[in-house]
């Protein structure tokens, strides 16, 4: 059946079964591949997107259950005007293979929206569900602190 989704400020008509996970709607149907498939069971966080600003695992949200406006990494900023969190990611050279980083960035963005100055412990708690096999964790922590500071100065 046909469903209308709001993604990154645009409307998309999709004609897929109700139970298709949002992850695969985004990747295979809408063509937004910045959101990654890592485990399919909400254990790695690579598929993290925002629904009405809340970080969710898109592999666990059925198409018919999408309750609001979807934001993916492509909608967080633009290559010319990246969000502060993305700028901090580049500044701290976080990415190695880069495959998990969209999910990390979306999770971090939602953390900073709730807590503008998180401690190391608060970062660890918020980011615990996002795996990085390259082990970029110390840089993720540093980038979140840097983005927090920049956003407070702004």
């Amino acid at each position: 059946m046909s469903t209308t989704l709001r993604i990154n400020g645009k409307s998309h008509q999709v004609d897929l079964p109700d139970d298709v996970p949002l992850l695969w709607v985004l990747r295979d149907e809408v063509g937004l591949t910045g959101t990654k498939f890592g485990c399919g069971v909400a254990a790695c966080g690579a598929c993290t997107v925002h629904i009405d600003g809340e970080a969710v695992r898109s592999c666990q949200v059925a198409l018919s259950d999408v309750w609001g406006e979807v934001t993916t990494v492509e909608g967080l900023g633009t290559p010319d005007a990246m969000a502060a969190i993305q700028q901090a990611w580049v500044e701290h050279q976080v990415a190695q293979c880069g495959y998990c980083q969209s999910g990390q960035i979306m999770q971090a963005a939602s953390l900073l929206a709730e807590n503008p100055a998180p401690s190391d412990a608060e970062i660890d708690e918020a980011m615990q569900g996002n795996l990085c096999r390259c082990g970029t964790y110390p840089r993720i922590r540093a980038a979140i602190h840097a983005a927090a500071q920049k956003m407070q100065e702004a």
């Binding site: 079964p17 298709v20 996970p21 695969w24 990747r27 295979d28 149907e29 063509g31 937004l32 591949t33 910045g34 959101t35 990654k36 498939f37 890592g38 485990c39 399919g40 069971v41 254990a43 790695c44 690579a46 993916t72 990494v73 492509e74 967080l76 900023g77 633009t78 290559p79 990246m82 993305q86 990611w89 580049v90 050279q93 976080v94 990415a95 190695q96 293979c97 880069g98 495959y99 998990c100 980083q101 969209s102 960035i105 970062i123 660890d124 708690e125 980011m127 615990q128 996002n130 795996l131 990085c132 096999r133 390259c134 082990g135 970029t136 964790y137 110390p138 840089r139 993720i140 922590r141």
Partner: protein, 725 residues
């Protein structure tokens, strides 16, 4: 005559119109240049508009060659990092072989920088000299007066961007021996401010991994593989799958290794797969449990070894240990491990208009799948193409000597009418259960100490399944029956150990095994560094002083190992841990690089250990991209620690017990505190950094835990008496 003249005229004008300068080397290694890539294997391409592109022969899985090899070109050519692009080389072993692998193109063994360092610098330097010569001719100036910096040619009162001289330079011969910069002239090599070339696309979601490719009209294929390693598919029932929207069909693979399930999209393929039942023939499949494999390996290290690795006198070593004042003895066991890169394995194959095929893949070892596809499709090598895309991690998994997943994709494609591209997708469950593990390994070491605490003999026995026997690498890395990858880091340790004997027994298994970030060093470093700690303790000596004594009076190898050990100890505050903290240290040479690490923990094995801080010192020769090196050390340390803490793959009657991250739980952010990396300044040739950070991490943690708790000799730690918080 007329024909010849006009042809020459045509060629000259075509070259001028194309006006592209390629610089690289011929298959014999001589520098070459021209206006078409067919004449040579280019490492740098300069367009008429002055766009400079480095052609990177190594794939990018996060370890940094897209930045590193590009840095070499930019440095010698004289352009800024902002004004140079990169692209991945095509698959062509004759032109882009890894010099460390003979006539094979591929990435591995932490060799990308080491084998490219001179090639890429020479290509960049040759391009610089040709552009300078072209400018000198145009300006009527002496080439020696001209410079090329930041893409601008200057001198003799003139100044112009390099683009103006590309056409003229493209007509020249390459200088046979261009002058390379003296290290004192480096502006980019060694500069910690140089940023990765791939940061931006990997931060804004635009980086294209093989998983992200969506070709027009593609089908998605997933494979149902045997639940037991080595089982054969004989038939299937797909009645249930026919209800699923988007399901196309299923077919038994020609090698019976599984059933290919085709669908319109990924989710439909996964759903259909779950609805298909397969008939399996398990008569030649693995039926053993991992407990049994463990017992076999432990029995092997308690028997006389099959191979005497270094030819040492075993009887003499035994005698020296028997007569010692003290004997320290331990038996170790390391489980099977999966690589689990973040991007599950995937690749796409499509038919080309000329009857050839193209593989789109985060391709670690192009020569393997290239040859396999030529064979499967009965095509000449030049009709098989590989488009190398970003790889979402590998840790060795994407470089199987059998080209396992690319062969699956090729077989699945071959079963279709080839009118639609086929994208093979692995799920995480496919990845965790799919074999090609770090082999399970057992060690037994007996060390004799005299009354003064000096080592008198070191009897080291290793039992493992060989990674390399039966592969294309056997002739290169197996000698006299000894698979070097089973004993590297032990038999060839830089420590000057009196009476050292290393024995190896090969214990064959049906489970396919594979190199895993740092290969044999994953276990040999653990055993060497834990045993040295045990011996130091038995001798009543400081672990750092005890190790340094075994390196004293040696050559460069020993001095460099001692150098990083002292640096890590110094920077990590060795011996002065804050109240409530314990420290452990380990040092190891692998892939030509020397790395020492101090792990500082709080808590203890009973109440929970927390890794507070890791201090690392690395000597990898000339540090081309210091920040990439730091990142590789950080990542390598995390990889080593996480698996030692928690991970193992086990089998129950040949069936893998783990499925996904919840039961193969990797290192998470809260598991690790700060990591500090110190790079030893060096003028030596660059050596590896992708793997060498991993080996010392686990033994340094084990040594920290043993400082106020149990000595862990079997991994993972959480199943052997250590809890973590």
């Amino acid at each position: 005559m007329t024909l010849t003249t006009s042809r020459r005229g045509f060629l000259a004008s075509a070259a001028a119109a194309a006006a592209v300068l390629y610089v690289g080397v011929r298959p014999n290694g001589a520098l070459a240049a021209g206006s078409a890539p067919a004449q040579l294997n280019p490492f740098v391409k300069i367009g008429a508009d002055g766009t400079v592109t480095a052609i990177v022969k190594h794939f990018e899985k996060g370890q940094g060659p897209a930045t590193g090899l590009t840095t070499l070109i930019a440095e010698e050519l004289g352009v800024s990092m902002e004004d140079i692009r990169y692209e991945f080389a095509p698959s062509d072993a004759a032109r882009y072989a890894n010099l460390a692998f003979g006539q094979m193109q591929g990435t591995g063994g932490s060799t990308a920088m080491a084998n490219s360092f001179m090639q890429y610098r020479q290509a960049g330097a040759a391009a610089r000299e040709m552009l300078i010569k072209a400018a000198a001719e145009a300006w009527g100036a002496d080439a020696a007066e001209l410079t090329l910096e930041d893409g601008i040619l200057k001198g003799a009162g003139q100044e112009a961007p390099l683009a103006e001289f590309v056409a003229a330079a493209a007509q020249m011969e390459a200088p046979p021996e261009p002058r390379l910069k003296d290290p004192s002239e480096f502006r980019l090599i060694g500069n910690p401010q140089v940023k990765r070339k791939d940061s931006l696309p990997k931060t804004n979601g635009t980086a294209m991994f093989a998983m992200d490719l969506h070709l027009p009209d593609q089908m998605v294929a997933v494979i149902i593989r045997s639940p037991r390693m080595g089982g054969l598919a004989s038939g299937f029932d797909d009645a249930g799958a026919k209800e699923i929207k988007g399901y196309i069909r299923a077919a038994v693979l020609p090698n019976q290794a599984g059933v290919a399930v085709y669908a319109e999209d990924t989710w439909a393929a996964f759903q259909a797969r779950d609805a298909i039942t397969v008939d399996w023939d398990f008569s030649n499949a693995e039926h053993r449990s991992s407990d049994q494999i463990r017992e076999e390996l432990l029995a092997a290290v308690n028997a006389e070894p099959e191979y005497n690795v270094t030819g040492a006198d075993h009887a003499a070593t035994t005698e020296q240990i028997e007569g010692a004042a003290k004997v320290v003895e331990q038996t170790f066991y390391f489980p099977l491990l999966a690589h689990a890169p973040m991007e599950p394995l995937t690749c796409t194959i499509e038919a080309d208009a000329d009857g050839g095929v193209t593989l789109h893949d985060g391709c670690q070892f192009p020569s393997g799948p290239h040859m396999a596809m030529a064979q499967i499709f009965q095509l000449p090598m030049d009709k098989v193409r590989i488009n190398t895309m970003f790889a979402g991690g590998s840790f060795g998994r994407r470089a199987t000597p059998t080209a396992d997943y690319q062969v699956e994709a090729a077989l699945a494609f071959a079963l279709t009418d080839r009118s639609r591209p086929v994208k093979l997708v692995w799920s995480r469950e496919d990845d965790i259960t799919g074999g090609y593990y770090r082999p399970a390994v057992a060690h037994r070491v007996r060390v004799g100490l005299d009354a003064e605490g000096n080592i008198t003999g070191w009897d080291h026995r290793i039992a493992a399944q060989s990674i390399l026997k039966g592969t294309a690498f056997e002739s290169m890395m197996v000698h006299g029956g000894v698979d070097h990858s089973s004993v590297e880091g032990a038999a060839d340790t830089p420590y000057r150990i009196p009476g050292q004997f290393t024995g190896l027994s090969d214990v064959a298994k049906a489970t396919p095994v594979l190199w895993w970030r740092s290969v044999g060093h994953t276990h040999t470093a653990y055993v060497m560094e834990v045993m040295l700690d045990e011996a130091a303790r038995a001798a009543g000596r400081d672990p750092v002083a005890f190790r340094l004594a075994l390196l004293e009076g040696g050559g460069a190898d020993q001095q460099r190992l001692a150098g990083v050990l002292k640096l890590a100890a110094d920077k990590g505050g060795w011996g002065s841990a804050p109240e409530g903290r314990s420290q452990g240290i380990a040092v190891h040479k692998s892939f030509g690089s020397y790395v020492a690490e101090v792990v500082e923990i709080s808590g203890n094995a009973d109440d929970g250990v927390k890794i507070e801080k890791v201090t690392c010192a690395v000597d990898c020769g000339i540090a081309v991209n210091p920040d990439v090196i730091k990142a590789q050390m950080e990542g390598g340390i995390g990889y080593g620690l996480g698996h030692a803490m928690r991970n193992e793959i086990t089998l129950t009657e040949g069936v893998v017990d783990q499925f996904n991250f919840p039961d193969y739980e990797p290192l998470r952010i809260g598991d690790i505190g700060a990591i500090e990396v110190h790079i030893v300044p060096s003028a030596e040739m660059p050596t590896g950094v992708g793997e060498p950070g991993t080996p010392p991490a686990a033994p340094a943690l084990a040594n920290a835990i043993a400082a106020n708790g149990p000595r862990v000799t079997e991994l993972p730690m959480i199943l052997n008496g250590v809890s973590f918080v």
